[in-house]
Amino acid sequence: MALLEIDELTRRFGGIIAVDRVSMRVEAGEVRAVIGPNGAGKSTLFNLITGVVKASDGSVRFDGTMLSGMSPYSICQHGISRTFQITALFPEMTARENARLAAQARHVRRWQPYGGSTVFGDAARRGDAALERLGLTHVAHRPAGLLSHGDQRLLEVAMALAQQPRLLLLDEPTQGLSVEETAQAVDTLATLLADRAMTVLLVEHDMEVVFRLAHMITVLHRGAVIADGEPDAVRADAEVQRAYLGGLA
């Protein structure tokens, strides 16, 4: 059984169909990229999986659990963490506090109203470990809002990692980065994903990033899946060439 099973997932906004009967299987340990031109429904798909947007039709199953109809926080509690296309952080908190708050969300006593904010040593350690894995230790003490854009993007990934998710959703992690920053970020991500311990769903515009990181690719066009398979097969697919890659090649 696949870790994530999406069946006939559909979302309509008024007369527009943003996501059109999308079905997908993501196996454990797989890095799957979702690509497609602007407006293809990639972000809506993420929002549907994480419960930010309610589905008009279809279902999402995660490890056998039906996610449809759950609110974003309980979906996250099931082990799905995400980053946002537009950087979402706690700007006044330091990078370390950001990561710690993310790690703490999985703590059973996260409601505890006493004991100081660093009372959960394991959460703090997981946060720090995540910062270190993304090379952010040297900026850990700075307010997140004052980090460089590249570091902010990485901090979002670190926050998701600190939650030790079973499925990680990355929404354009290199969005808005310079060429050098992108190269650096991709190196970091590649190292991170090398051991195949994590299942990742990745939305990305940059084809080089996609072909470097992904084991499998799903191509969306106008809300619907037009291709699905290993990178080489997708690259060769004529319909994909026409809809998407053609413009870039």
Binding site: T50, V52, S71, P72, Y73, S74, C76, Q77, S81, R82, F84, I86, T87, A88, L89, F90, P91, E92, M93, E97, R100, L101, A102, Q104, A105, R106, H107, R109, R110, W111, Q112, P113, Y114, G115, G116, S117, V119, F120, P143, A144, G145, L146, H149, M159, Q163
Partner: protein
Amino acid sequence: MNFSRGLAAAACVLALAPAALPPYAMTLLTEALILGLFAMSLDLMVGYTRLLSFGHAAAYGLGAYTCGNLLLHTGMPLLFAVPLAALFSGIVAIGVAWVCTLASGVSFSMLTLAFAQLFYAVAFKWTTVTGASDGLAGIPRSPGPFGIAIFAGKAGFYYLVLACLLGSLLFCRMLVHSPFGEVLRGIRENEAKTLSLGYNTRRYKIAVVAIAFALGGLAGALYAPFAGFANTELLFWLFSGQVLIMVIVGGAGTLVGPIIGAAFFMLVSNLLSSWTDSWALFFGLIFIGFVLFAPQGIWGLLSGTGRAEGRERVRWRFLKSTS
């Protein structure tokens, strides 16, 4: 200055006040401390969770009427009636917050005002409980248990108020620095992100409103036996606005600031009222001035860190860079 040392010093000075001050000043000081407690309770919502409430008088009125009724009609000792009234206020708040948190942002603020006005209107109609426009009068400071009557006197009651204020301050400080408080901070800075990290933000908001109402209710519960009466003024929307002014002028998100703000409010309104009866006009101006030019409030200015301003700058730069 270190917080606990500063607090100990302030507590000592306040504890010695009855020996030095004339009765009239003691009355003002007691009221200022009650208002300080009230303002501090609102700070949990406004300063720490960015839940802007225009209806916090509801908490005060609930506490005052509940305490007043307990003291008038059940013969319950003061020491039991006050915490019971605070508890009741907190429980009612769960229902109010459940509705208000259906909306967020500005709609939340509008709903808080609407609910406070509903309580105000109910207080006007429900004569048997609230005495309608006459209010409740002659609320006693019933002694007990075991015949403890020390709190009936002027100085004794002052010490009761002081103990409640200091205890609440320590409680709030513990709360905002706890893992729970860290989540409130997350909600203040980015609610959607907090939700996506797996926190049930609505439940956290309901919890903080309930705590704020319980402490606000405690202030109201102290006010009823302090003044000896409770009337609909305590639920009026202007009072909700005044306490918000105390929080902002004193310094939101600092706990101590709002207490200073309440003292400032008492002081200035007493000074102003001796030469003009339209002090509300000046308060409006002072308030706008602070919101425009010193959003960190008196405490922020005094402590010199200007942290609130720094925060605002950080947030603004962040918003600009991401939109």
